[in-house]
């Protein structure tokens, strides 16, 4: 397969692509073999780069350590139902601490200052965060989940903790933040330009530059897992979150049991489904 780098000054396009079938003059931008240049949407699978497309250019790349505070264990939940008439009740008791949302916090991850809501990715432990990503759990069933969100000037992190039967320890986590700016405006009138003094190659009127970083799928390096589909399943009133790079975290302590007036073996409250994998790819911005 021939890889072609071609610019067409008539249409103002430049592209790097696999030749299409159909032959024709290799130096003619309008020949069948060069169709990806001027008909990129009909040859998306052949395109490596095209000046018509937008690229997820990293405008801000930073790592930040967040010191997540510890939080206490919870008491075993109970509920009186309608009340305790005649010494009984229509509620339940339990055997293990559990309290959803007993701990919340909010952290600044990065200031991007772009003045608009950008596309962004936040990664921890080589995995890009989906909403509610569990960053910490313990044997007592406590789970600390985080969600990253953007404002017009910042990338922030919401923390939502569920308490279990053991206190959640404090933890320092390192987050990698990537903010992708809007497609740049043209900075020159050249479709292909190389500056020998700086070594910078520019394509597409300067909107793509070799001295910038772009999100891509490429072998080697240090990629992050990025989810491409459903990663949460619910069963028995509980959730399981599958992580981008494999593995999963359940939202409820497997030892938690509910009893009506304390009788019986207790009903398990944990997730009891069979969901174990989610589609994902490995991406990076080298």
């Amino acid at each position: 397969m021939t890889v072609v780098l071609m610019a067409d000054t008539e249409t103002g396009r430049v592209a790097l692509y696999d030749e299409a079938s159909g032959g024709g003059d290799p130096q003619n931008p309008n020949s069948a073999r060069n169709a990806p240049l001027n008909s990129p949407l009909s040859h998306l699978d052949k395109i490596y780069f095209h000046s018509d497309f937008d690229y997820m250019e990293v405008s801000l790349l930073t790592t930040v350590v967040i010191n997540h505070a510890g939080y206490p264990a919870a008491s075993p939940p109970s509920f009186n139902g309608g009340g305790t008439a005649m010494g009984g009740n229509s509620g339940f008791s339990s055997n293990s601490g559990f309290a959803v949302g007993s701990h919340t916090a909010n952290h600044l991850l990065a200031t991007h200052g772009l003045g608009y809501i950008p596309r962004f990715k936040v990664a921890v432990n080589n995995q890009m965060l989906p909403p509610g990503f569990p960053v910490q759990s313990n044997a007592g069933g406590a789970v600390r989940a985080v969600s990253a969100y953007a404002t017009t000037s910042q990338i922030r992190l919401r923390e939502f903790g569920t308490a279990g039967s053991n206190a959640m320890a404090a933890q320092s986590s390192t987050y990698t933040v990537m903010v992708f700016g809007a497609q740049p405006s043209p900075s020159n009138n050249r479709l292909i330009d190389f500056n020998p003094s700086t070594g910078v190659l520019e394509l597409g009127l300067g909107r793509w530059r070799s001295d910038r970083r772009y999100l891509q799928v490429v072998p080697g390096g240090s990629p992050f897992g990025l989810l491409m589909g459903r990663n949460v399943d619910l069963a028995n009133g509980a959730a399981r979150a599958v992580l981008p790079s494999g593995g999963f975290v359940d939202s409820v302590n497997p030892s938690l049991r509910l009893y009506l007036l304390g009788a019986g073996a207790g009903t398990p409250m944990q997730y009891n489904g069979s969901f174990t994998s989610a589609p994902s790819i490995q991406v990076q911005a080298p």
Partner: protein, 252 residues
């Protein structure tokens, strides 16, 4: 090395020791912004749960002790619901062959207040009213409490971008005994069977000096005259509203 090189059957564009791009890999090619799917005020309602009730009754009718009591709770029966067989279609993929990448931002908020669950508002884990990254498609737990959870997923399916929703209620506690409402101590339940107690409904108690006589507080239908209420006064339907910003592209 800086610039463009061709060797070993690949093209590399480098910036010193960093390889900005290589034909061994693929940049994420996003379609022009005119192909983006930008949606505002997409409303979705999670249906109310299937419910029943738990009716606790106790009575004493010995010669010297006459007393009676009842307490009721609305219960949510064990259930799993989703819309996977008929998902909410947010929009079609652009008519461009080869799209295999999404970049999704979502702006979620709950627009009603479901009934309290076990005496407290149902927690909402996500940051509401803020733009959250959902990657190339992923899920978000939107509500979670002891014994219940709701989630939303956005992903590609069948040539469309779809919203998948799911909700689940746990099994009921153990410890039910004596479903005969005429026994001295009895639990009975509504027509939908046993469930997880989620909302207190009523409570009555009468000790010997005030005993109404002839077991007035038994469950309705067994000859009682003043049963505890069992009508459902809860509504756990939950309304969520989402904005989406979705870009399409290819990464392979």
């Amino acid at each position: 090395m800086r610039g463009l090189s061709i060797s070993s059957g690949k093209i590399e564009i480098s910036d010193g020791s960093r390889v900005t791009f290589t034909t061994d890999g693929t940049l994420v090619n996003l379609l022009p912004a005119s192909y983006d799917l930008n949606l505002s005020d997409i409303d979705f309602t999670y249906p109310d749960f299937i419910k029943s009730y738990a009716y606790y009754w106790s009575g004493e009718h010995t010669t010297s002790i006459k007393s009676e009591g009842c307490s009721t709770a609305i219960t949510a029966v064990p259930q799993n619901w989703n819309n996977f067989s008929s998902p909410r279609v947010l929009g079609a993929l652009p008519a461009v062959s080869g799209i295999d990448f999404l970049d999704i931002l979502v702006y979620p908020r709950r627009t009603n207040t479901p009934s309290n669950w076990m005496g407290a508002a149902i927690p909402t884990p996500p940051q509401q009213n803020a733009w959250t990254d959902m990657g190339g498609g992923s899920s978000m737990i939107v509500e979670q409490a002891l014994g219940m959870a709701r989630s939303v997923t956005v992903q590609i399916s069948g040539g469309n971008v779809v919203l998948l929703a799911q909700q689940s209620v746990a099994d009921y506690p153990t410890g039910w005994w004596s479903t005969d409402p005429t026994e001295n101590i009895a639990f009975t339940y509504g027509s939908n069977g046993r469930g997880l107690p989620v909302s207190g409904r009523d409570s009555k108690e009468a000790l010997s000096a005030h005993w109404p006589g002839a077991y007035a507080f038994q469950r309705s239908g067994v000859g009682s005259t003043n049963p505890c209420a069992t009508s459902d006064n809860t509504n756990y339907a939950s309304n969520w509203r989402f904005d989406f910003r979705i870009a399409f592209g290819r990464r392979s």
